[in-house]
């Protein structure tokens, strides 16, 4: 078994097989990266599997890769001790890829009326109006091709990147992840002639024209 090198969205991923002795691994790394000095660069992820590693050993590998202009480094390990060792010298797992809403979008045609609730894990697209007293709760985005007068909750499972979009956005309330915004008390807001989008900007729900 030899080490494998893959290009991923987190950078260069170096998969190190468990069976190989560490000395062997180091020499393989030396062979792959030591020679073609300028060929590699940028972030790299070390995948160590179940292997248990001492700090010294891990440092040797990192030093070797740094010489090949690689870095910063991330570590994917299964052994708790190795994870701990990695954390001690500043190696953490690459940030988990953004969790996208699961499942297909739910497409509905017609008016959602007071007292009705539409709930879906993914995004919800409604071709029609959502009246006051109705609730639309989506794991992903809420898109209304019509007037949104009721309550829309996007990113109901905590996705703060979720958005509420409506051709005519006049909601009682908008919720995105854990944030809540309500309509102003005095006087209806001026009716925007263009579609608007509500999203979290700087920790608050913000409404802007859909561009």
């Amino acid at each position: 078994m030899t080490i494998a090198i893959k290009g991923t969205r987190n950078g260069l991923t170096i998969v190190i097989p468990d069976e190989e002795a560490w000395e062997q691994v180091l020499s393989q790394l030396q062979a792959k990266f030591g020679e073609q000095e300028s060929f590699w660069s940028g972030a790299a992820v070390l995948e160590l599997g179940e292997r248990e590693l001492e700090e010294e050993d891990l440092k040797k590998a990192i030093a070797l890769l740094e010489e090949a202009k690689l870095g910063p480094f991330h570590l994917v390990a299964l052994h708790p001790k190795t994870i701990e060792t990695g954390a001690r010298i500043g190696l953490c797992p690459p940030s988990a890829p953004e969790k996208l809403p699961t499942g297909n979008a739910l497409y509905l045609k017609g008016t959602i009326r007071s007292g009705q609730v539409v709930r879906h894990d993914g995004s919800i697209v409604i071709c029609g109006d959502v009246n006051a007293g109705a609730e639309v709760i989506a794991g992903g985005d809420v898109v209304v091709f019509g007037t949104l007068r009721g309550m829309a909750h996007a990113g109901a499972e905590g996705n703060e990147k979720a958005q509420v979009v409506a051709v005519n956005l006049r909601p009682t309330q908008i919720r995105i992840a854990g944030k809540i915004a309500r309509s102003p008390d005095h006087g209806a807001p001026p009716l925007s002639k263009s579609p608007e989008v509500a999203s979290i900007v700087g920790g608050d729900i913000n409404i802007s024209p859909l561009s």
Binding site: S114, G115, Q116, G133, E135, T172, Q173, R182, D185
Partner: protein, 266 residues
């Protein structure tokens, strides 16, 4: 000691919700700590009449099903901090709550230190009525001076006495039009009283202000100029034990007739 009053009517559209909102606001403005409880699950309106719809996050069913604490669901009024609303759920129905849960809820409200707990009863005599009356110790019957609402009110008085053990309900005759009574086109307050034979708590004149104030979410009892608002404030004072004479409806009749004459001349 808190007083728990259900506002009921049997028939729909006679003004239970309007009465609840106005009495609540009037009592709160007199310094009482008031909780309004909307028992009309599935057809909630009290929040609208009070202009608090956009503040609802949790409702009565969330409290009963323990998804939130009572305090989280209580909405403090934006004008008067003495007034709080526990909204109904819109997406459920009357079966979402049972009378025992209502009793527990009202006990919890009492512990929050409210001096008045007003329960807005739904129309009808089914589960919603049973829920709304279960925890109440006093009842206010709202009726209009016309035969069908008086008939339903009579049925309610009977049911309250027999099933809910609410003796001596008080009567509010709502939407009274003195001019029509004078022309013998409408039942008079005395006619209504004769049939129902319960103590009269107040007479509320028909008032266009109710429509605009409802649409704006501002109870008419906040308005100094509205006659209905004045009548509601008087009812609130009577509830607190004050002796307040009934509004002189003739006076309002005179005013309107004078207006009419004015238009007739021009």
């Amino acid at each position: 000691m808190s007083r728990v009053i259900v506002i009921t009517s049997g028939k729909g559209g006679v003004g239970k919700t309007t009465t609840t909102a106005n009495l609540g606001m009037a009592l709160a403005n007199m310094g009482e700590k008031v909780a309004l409880l909307d028992a009309d699950i599935g057809l909630r309106n009290l929040d609208l009449v009070l202009g608090l719809e956009n503040r609802i996050v949790y409702d009565i069913v969330d409290v009963v099903e323990e998804r939130c604490k009572l305090r989280q669901a209580l909405i403090k009024d934006k004008r008067n901090p003495n007034l709080a609303l526990l909204p109904a759920a819109q997406t459920r129905d009357k079966t979402a709550v049972n009378p025992d849960q209502m009793k527990k809820l009202v006990e919890d409200l009492k512990e929050e230190g409210f001096s008045f707990i007003l329960i807005d009863c739904p129309a009808g005599i089914e589960q919603g009525f049973k829920n709304a009356t279960a925890a109440a110790t006093e009842a206010i019957i709202v009726t209009n001076p016309e035969i069908s609402s008086v008939r339903d009110a009579d049925r309610i008085v009977g049911k309250l006495e027999a099933e809910a053990e609410l003796k001596n309900p008080l009567l509010i005759v709502n939407r009274v039009r003195p001019a029509m009574i004078k022309n013998q086109e409408m039942m008079s307050v005395e006619d209504v009283q004769e049939i129902l034979a319960i103590k009269l708590l107040g007479v509320i004149p028909e008032d266009d202000c109710i429509i605009t104030s409802t649409n704006r979410g501002e109870p008419v009892s906040m308005s100094e100029t509205s006659r209905a608002g004045q009548a509601y404030r008087n009812v609130a004072r009577r509830i607190r034990g004050e002796e307040v004479p009934m509004l002189n409806l003739e006076e309002s009749f005179g005013f309107f007739s004078r207006l009419k004459k004015l238009f007739a001349v021009s």
